[in-house]
Symmetry: C2
Subunit: 795 residues, 2 copies
């Protein structure tokens, strides 16, 4: 039912009726497209805010991406109806809307293309989707082949949904001269001041055909008739589509080709679908992609596919692994870096990413395109206030503004600066970034990055109550319980702990960059903070999540719901607050109360009703990202913390639950293909087991760089440091060996790790020479190294 | 295909496949429900802003009511699937979602109930919907009868859609103790400040069953399965629904009853569907409506239906007519006052009605519940500024705010005060309202209504340029061309003319209330204004619509699009600006350029592209309400103007196009049942004939009181005045006689109008006594009068 293709370039699903519906995604520099195995599609492009060119059949709310989006008959999609002209039989590829059971079906999700292959009633249909690198448009190839022994007369109908574009103005028509359907709309506005913006929008949707169609339809209602979308009257009852237009009627883009295929004969088609400003632009696209060819005789369409594939391949990671776990290998070598690259390249298709997301996404980009990460850190610091505070979101476009949750003040953003920067430094050793001078948002004064981050740390140090606990205001990370501290008194247990961790990380950077005085200062405060944490937040078996404005401690053993939160536990191991005894206790509590077959939950039990002193999280549905799901981002931190304290078996067990496979069927059942880690799997496992484990379907998540750090810093122990590369693997007990190709500062390391019985400690050999402290130094760029790591079999 | 029922209480449509889909509506004091013949439904209730309890399958935008709303497979609706347990055959009533052709089908739209009768496969299904008077909920009766000669084993499945309630939280389950499905959600919010509002919302949707079901389903995806909404797997493949719940899954409310019916046997069911705050409220509703009975042994459900019917019948008009035109009679006697009543009673289910709408809606209410109209005028005047300016919208709830178009400054609101008040005075003679003292929005000072309106008139008099033309700012009525005058210089031709008319009307009221000095002043200014209008706006054959900030006159003969606008033409006859010659010219221009088979268009030719000096109207789709539709509100004014100048044949021809019938089939084809006048029929008739004439489906419109005034003041000439009732009919040439029962200030007049050959002038006899001036004076309340009106046959 689900398998990787032979070349491991694709994951192939062999039935479209898996519930919930498996999906994958492509993106480029302007757009994102999320497709599912049945043919339903959600696509967005930037203009500059996210916009759609293929809409729902009714007015859609403008909102951020929603999890677990339900599908319905008229959900936007890309379909191909096939009608046998002689028998009148109709089926559709990939599966929707006719839902005819195919004889053979494959949904193949690749890194730079997505392919469906459907065999039904003796006809083979292949549909494949790719994108160009820079433009917002879909590149489609469709092939239709006669597999039966007799000649066949067919009509095929590509149907690209356009939907309800605008209440203000929408229409559509076929343009002979463009060989294209162009649908027109005007984004609704009421204040004349908004006109200057909307007049620049790409409010048209086009479908360009390479081959001239026999007929077309642009009017959804006329096309569907009483047959409905599952058996359109235009197909069932008419020889030819009626070549209609849409005038303030819901537009659709449907073409008809009539073909006669001898046995074994195949016809091929290409289409381009996307948004445009005007007909001239459509004409331009047609000539660039379909009419003109380059010196090699290749047209723009084919060149764009090739260029896009190259672009996606640039997003490779820093390790290539071969372990006893092929699913892990496949995911880590192919898909995990792709998901990190997506984040770093697109900034989640938002113009105001949350500050913590932006920093972590570029922490991940440090492994792929460190120069991009470097620039991102500087962009973020330019938006810091001179008092050290970081804003809730980073503005990436001149017209952008802080939206949605970014209008709610959160107190944790400064914490992420040293944490994310440390990975960049580990990977690149580029300490020059600390000397870069950048201004503040509210001051012309420029100061070095080093000074900026010092100020951020002092801001955290000062934003505390008399006990030394950090204020939470209306929320911190993971996630806004918006009523804990809005009166200005409530504090966050996690944030206080995270502050101690951030101070320690920053102290390390200070040391490595010759600021040992500052290092001492921050280490001292981190220690003091840890003491305060233990004094006020240790609940006996685990740490509390916080204390409200009215001095009510929560996330504690006497709470009926929200009794334990994962974040204070893992981070207390990172910060050093938890000693050995506390670590044992809290790990046991996590295992007993938060671990599920799908990973560790963020909190448990999920809130099922409102607690007014805690707020919003308690109104989220139980098992949602914020209310007790296996929120992978938080779970990844916990795993990272386990590696940090050497709890490698627990760490690996939980890591393995997060990464798709080994039970691929199970992951498909839960709603996705094994090509990305979703932001959550539904939790509330002990309360609502029926729905637990389902994928959110959302691929935007800070999880991925942390999983990568778990692999680099933890599992394989190949973390960079000031001196070079420190080798300290923590392979799980079940593994006898593993090999890793590690790109590091331009050098290429071929590392073989082996469990050796009777060994006392890890031994590292570089080109057969023993490396005493396990740190490979003086690695030269453009040089290959053979590294052998012997590991005591007992650990 | 369409016919009135025998008792004229219903309009009956005999096929559900008319395109576009015919619809009707019910409302009460808390809600509005718009249903179509196929079973699709849009319902809203107030909490205090309009909200939904039956949603689309995806996130819907929050917006004002949209015209020509498209339907799609999963559109919200109320359906009943019927499955023959022996043959496995399934059909659905009323028509959707299965779309099985029925043997007999009736969709009967009544004033206080809506009924579907469907006969299919030997089974008769009747579904009927009513509302209670005050609560937001639907009262449903369902009857299933075996018409075949043999016993039948059936399962019936009422399916009430719930849809995508909220991304924050949604779930649903069946409650044994309530015999109800209750779906729960939380309106999304992000700022804690909004919590106090949303916590009060009725965010639950319930379906209470009178009879205990055999099974149920609350999970839409489980219910539909691969069969989809047109043949749900839960029905097709299962003996019993699986009794599931929805946990952050799209909820549905589906019940299953298994019944065995002998030949001729019938079973009856009742259901209540609507929003609730909590389960306790659902329990309360169940006990009030279904469990408890009153002294007469009647339960709350039946009592509520009866009370609602009485409530709707209270909304009767002031005339009851019998003419040679039975469709006109039916509409005027039954449906027109109902639509006026709806407006006056609900204020269009908004908390901030546009000021001009609010005033005109209560102008209509003057005919039905004058006390309500009186209060409304005072509410509006309390929101006037002390400088005389009226706000863009009237706030009706403490939490309400000005939304959408009410945030765009318009300059016409003052005009409506005397115009609307005059009808109230004509009808009631209650001049005491002029002495009521009310405050201003921005001042504690209270002044009489008389002074308030004087100030409004002076505000208009001063808001003019040096030529004496009224500024348009970002828009005036009908409708905002938002860029004509936003720089502060552009002027409105229509508004200047309307000001002259308003001054004349106000002068009349001043005279009748003993303020002849003021009367003189306003009459003089009206005359001066008319002169200015003729100087600057007469274009040779008609009046221009306005002059832009950059001094460009528009709505003139040299314009390619937007060459002529209806409003300056009709109003110039009302204001007195147009002399006989100009009247002839402009009427000819209207006939030639604006009249269509569906009425007169608002402007022509429709704009098909943007004219940046005019603005928004040019971005509306051609043929929309604002851009060249037969906008009935504007058309009604033109007809009113024609009656005012005695052009009774033209007036009647156009009036007859607006009122449903005589070609009822045609009106159904264009998208509605003849139970309301929509705000527009699509125009751009000469540009886009295919779509011209279609109904907007929107029943919110200021048209209706003006049509009523056309009937009262014009066609039947039965307008009130200071002295009494002035009788001055303008029957069309084709009519030989007509009779009217006229309620007037408590008296009941039985009026017979007869064309008499050879007569010189109209003769009026009251109780057989000739009334010299045609004005019936000293009419006594609670007294009946027999009135005979002889009309010269030649006129």
């Amino acid at each position: 039912m689900i398998r990787p293709s032979e070349d491991q370039e694709y994951y192939e699903l062999l039935t479209p009726t898996a519930l919930p519906k498996a999906s994958g995604f492509l993106w480029n520099e302007k757009m994102m497209i999320h497709v599912n195995c049945r043919g339903y599609v959600v696509a967005q492009f930037m203009q500059p805010e996210p916009a759609k060119y293929s809409h729902a059949p009714n007015l859609e709310a403008k909102t951020f991406m929603q999890p677990e989006q339900p599908y319905y008959a008229h959900h936007p999609g890309r379909f191909l109806y096939v009608k046998d002209e002689e028998s009148g039989e109709v089926f559709s590829a990939p599966y929707e809307p006719v839902r005819e059971q195919a004889d053979q079906y494959t949904f193949a999700i690749g890194k730079s293309s997505i392919v469906w292959r459907v065999e039904c009633k003796g006809i083979h249909v292949e549909m494949s989707l790719s994108l160009p690198r820079e433009d917002a448009m879909e590149l489609w190839r469709v092939k239709v082949k006669n597999l039966s022994g007799a000649p066949r007369k067919l009509s095929i109908y590509p149907y690209f949904t356009v939907g309800y574009m605008s209440w203000m103005n929408q229409s559509g028509q076929y343009h002979e001269d463009l060989q294209a359907i162009v649908c027109t709309s005007i984004t609704p506005y009421q204040k004349y001041q908004d006109y200057s913006k909307i007049k620049e929008f790409s409010d048209k949707t086009f479908l360009i055909a390479e081959r001239k169609p026999a007929a077309w339809e642009v009017n959804q209602e006329v096309f569907e008739g009483e047959g409905g979308i599952t058996m359109p009257s235009g197909i069932r009852d008419q020889e030819l589509l009626s070549k209609g237009d849409a005038r303030y009627e819901t537009p659709a883009a449907v073409l008809q080709y009539r073909i006669e295929l001898a046995p074994g004969e195949e016809e091929a088609y290409r289409f381009i679908f996307g948004p445009a400003r005007d007909e001239e632009q459509v004409a331009q696209i047609r000539s660039n992609y379909l009419l003109n060819t380059n010196a090699d005789g290749e047209d723009g369409f084919t060149a764009a596919e090739r260029e896009y594939d190259r672009y996606i391949r640039e997003g490779r990671g820093r390790i290539e692994i071969a372990t006893p776990d092929p699913d892990l290998d496949n995911f880590v070598n192919h898909w995990l870096p792709r998901q990190m690259y997506y984040h770093g390249q697109t900034n989640r298709l938002t113009t105001d990413p949350q500050t913590r997301n932006f920093l972590q996404d570029h922490m991940g980009m440090s492994y792929i395109k460190p120069q991009t990460a470097r620039e991102a850190f500087l962009i973020a610091l330019r938006q810091q206030n001179a008092n050290g505070a970081m804003p809730d979101g980073i503005i990436l476009h001149k017209d952008a503004e802080l939206k949605y949750i970014n209008q709610v003040p959160h107190t944790d953003h400064c914490v992420w600066l040293p944490i994310c920067l440390s990975t960049y430094l580990d990977e690149t050793n580029d300490y020059s970034i600390l000397e870069e001078k950048v201004p503040y948002a509210d001051s012309e004064q420029t100061e070095s990055v080093f000074q900026h981050i010092n100020k951020a740390m002092f801001w955290l140090m000062n934003d505390r109550d008399e006990r030394g606990l950090n204020y939470i205001n209306q929320g911190d990370w993971c996630d806004p319980m918006n009523m804990v501290g809005y009166k200005g008194k409530g504090v966050s247990g996690w944030l206080t702990i995270a502050t101690a961790y951030a101070f320690n990380v920053w102290a390390g950077i200070c040391e490595s960059s010759g600021h040992s005085d500052k290092a001492k200062e921050f280490r001292a405060d981190a220690q003091k903070t840890n003491e305060v944490v233990n004094q006020y937040l240790w609940d006996g078996e685990w740490y509390a999540r916080g204390i409200t404005d009215d001095n009510v401690k929560f996330g504690i053993s006497t709470d009926r719901e929200g009794r334990i939160f994962i974040n204070p536990q893992g981070w207390s191991m990172l910060s050093g607050a938890a000693d050995q005894e506390k670590q044992s206790k809290l790990m046991r509590a996590v295992t007993e109360q938060l671990e599920t077959p799908y990973g560790v939950e963020k909190l448990a039990p999920s809130f099922t009703s409102m607690r007014e002193d805690v707020g919003r999280v308690t109104q989220k549905h139980p098992g949602s990202a914020e209310n007790g799901a296996v929120y992978n981002h938080a779970a990844a931190f916990y795993i990272y913390a386990l590696y940090t304290v050497g709890e490698k078996e627990d760490a690996f067990r939980l890591l393995r639950k997060m990464i798709p496979g080994p039970d691929l069927e199970d992951i498909v059942q839960r709603g996705q293909l094994p090509v990305f880690i979703p932001n959550y799997y539904r939790g509330a496992y002990r309360q609502f087991p029926r729905t637990a484990g389902r994928s959110s379907h959302l691929f935007n998540t800070g999880t991925v760089p942390w999983v990568y750090r778990c692999l680099i810093d933890g599992l394989f122990g190949l973390q960079g440091c000031k001196e070079g590369l420190q080798i300290k693997p923590q392979l799980p007990a079940g593994w006898k060996e593993a090999s890793v190709k590690r790109d590091f500062r331009g050098a290429e390391l071929h590392i073989v790790m082996k469990k050796v019985p009777g060994l006392d400690a890890i031994e590292v050999y570089a080109d057969e020479v023993l490396v005493a402290d396990g740190i490979l130094k003086d690695l030269q760029p453009d040089t290959e190294y053979q590294v052998l790591v012997n590991i005591p079999d007992e650990i």
